[in-house]
Assembly symmetry: C2
Homo-oligomer: 311 residues x 2
Amino acid sequence: MERTVERTLTIALPDAEIARRLSPPPDGSRIIVWDLGDPAPDVPIDLLVLRYMIPPAELRGLDAVSVRVVQSQTLGFDGVRETLPAGIVYCNAVEVHEASTGELALALILASQRGIGEAVAAQPRGEWAHAQHPGLADKTVLLIGVGGVGREIEKRVAPFDARLVRVARSSRTDDRGEVHGMASLRALLPEADIVVLAVPLAGDTRHLVDAAFLGLLRPGALVVNVARGAVVDTAALVDWLAAGRGRAALDVTDPEPLPADHPLWALPGAIITPHLGGHTDAMAGRVDRVVLEQIRRLREGEPPLNPVLGG
Amino acid sequence: MERTVERTLTIALPDAEIARRLSPPPDGSRIIVWDLGDPAPDVPIDLLVLRYMIPPAELRGLDAVSVRVVQSQTLGFDGVRETLPAGIVYCNAVEVHEASTGELALALILASQRGIGEAVAAQPRGEWAHAQHPGLADKTVLLIGVGGVGREIEKRVAPFDARLVRVARSSRTDDRGEVHGMASLRALLPEADIVVLAVPLAGDTRHLVDAAFLGLLRPGALVVNVARGAVVDTAALVDWLAAGRGRAALDVTDPEPLPADHPLWALPGAIITPHLGGHTDAMAGRVDRVVLEQIRRLREGEPPLNPVLGG
C-alpha cells in the first residue's frame, strides 16, 4: 500500500459548527468552510464533507473544483450517481444514522399503535379521549430490509413480544434465523399487522409499496417508512388511507418535503414526521468519528472508509 | 387445604362482552352480568369481576351484596382500602397490564425525545418542520420503581443504547445489577435526562415529584409518568413546564381525567395521553386468563390469586 508523502491535507467542512468541533484538526490538516456555493475554493480539497441532506443536484457544482474524496452525512445516496463528477470518490455515512433511524422506527410504530397521534391531536381541545388501541405485543411485524438500519430496528423490536418476520432481496438464514426473499413477499403480506420499510431506494424498490402490495394487507395494518419516500407509491397510499383501509407512519415522503397542500397531511391514520431519521444529538459525535477516520486514512495512504461511488 | 363441596359457582362479570368471551364457563359455573348498579343480584356471588378502571367509591355498593372474591382489572388499587366492605377478598390484576404499560412508557419516551408530538401538532398546518431532537441513545434514564411494570420498561429500554439507572424503596443488587434506594434519589436526579415513574401510589410516593425533585433535574429533562397521577405534584409540574425548564409525557394525571380547561393541556413540552396504560387489544386475553384461574381456584378450594386486601 502506497504511503503518501507528508503534506498538509485540506479538509472542507460545510459549516462553522462542524469546523469548530473538529478544530484543531489532527496533525495540522488545514480546515476550510465551504458549502458548495460561490466562491469555490482555489485549493485542491483532499476531503470534502457535504452538508446533511444536501440535494444531489448540487454535486454538479464540484465539476469546477479539485476534490479527491467526498464524505456524505447520509446513508442513502440515491441520485448521486447521476450528478457526481467523474474522478471523485463518494463515501456514505455508515454507522452514523442507523441507531437513530431504528429508534425513530420504534417511535413511529409505538406512536401509531398506541394512539399517541390521536392524543396529541386532541390535546389543544383539552379532550381526554380514552380508547383502546392495538399495541405492539402479540403483533406480526414484517421488516423489509435487513441492512444496517434493519438490524437496529430488529434489535429494538425484540423485547416487545411481537413476532418479527424479515424480508430481504434474497432468502437466507443468519444468526438470528430465517430471512425471506422478496419472492415470498406476496405470501407474507396478509400476515402482517405492521410493515416496516428499511430498504435503500433502487430500481427494484421504487414503488415497492403499490396498490397491489397494500391490497394484500389486513384491514387496519400499519405501514412505516423510514427508508426513502419513493419506496412507496404515494398515490396508491393516499387512496388506501382515504378508504380507511389502514394506517401509515412516514418519516420520508415522495415528494419531499411534502407540500403544505398535499392530501397526505390530513388523512386519517397518517402520522408524518419531517425526515427526522438519524437527526438526533447523537449524530454529531458519530459524524466527527467518521471524518477523523477518513483524515487518518488519507494521511496514511489507506483507501477511504465506505466508498460507494467513483474512484 | 380444604376441598369445597361441588356446587355451582356464581361469577358476576361487568359487561356482555367479557361474558361472551368467557361463555360457556368451565364446569357449569353460572355467569351473571352485573356492574354494581341497581338492581343488585339476589344471589351470593363467588367471584365478582370489576369493570376496568371503576372508581373505588363504587365499591361501597358491595355492602348490600354477598361477595366472596373481587377481581379487579387494574394493577393499582389506591383508594380501595378505604371503600371495600369488610369480609371481601380483593385481588388485583397481575400480569395483565405490565407489558402494555411498559410498551406505553417507551411510546411516550420516544414520542417526546424524537419530536413526534411536534410533528403531529404541525400536521394540520401542513408544516414540514425539520429539526434536531435529542433521541434516546446515549441518554441516562432514571427508572423509579422496579416492580412488574418497571421490569417491562427496563427490558424495552435495554436495546436503545441508553444508560439505565434503577431506583426502588430500598437499595439492593439483583440479576441485572444495582438498584439504588430512595435515599440516593437526590444524588441521582442531576444525572438524569429522562425520569420514568413506575411506582405504586402510596403514602411515601404521593407527590414524590415535587418542586424540589424537579429543581434537581437538568434543563430540558423529561418526566414520564405511567404510574398514578398523584405521584406528581401537578402544581409544581405546571410551574416547571411553564418556565420552560423541562418536558413531560403523562399517561396519568391528578386530577384525572384532566379537566378541559386545565393548564397542563397547553403547556409547551407536554404530551398527555388519556390513561391508555394497559389498555390494548392484548388486554382481554390476559384478563380472561386471570378470571379463569380464579374460577379454577375457587372450585378447587385453593386461595385466590393475588389477594391484596380483605379476607
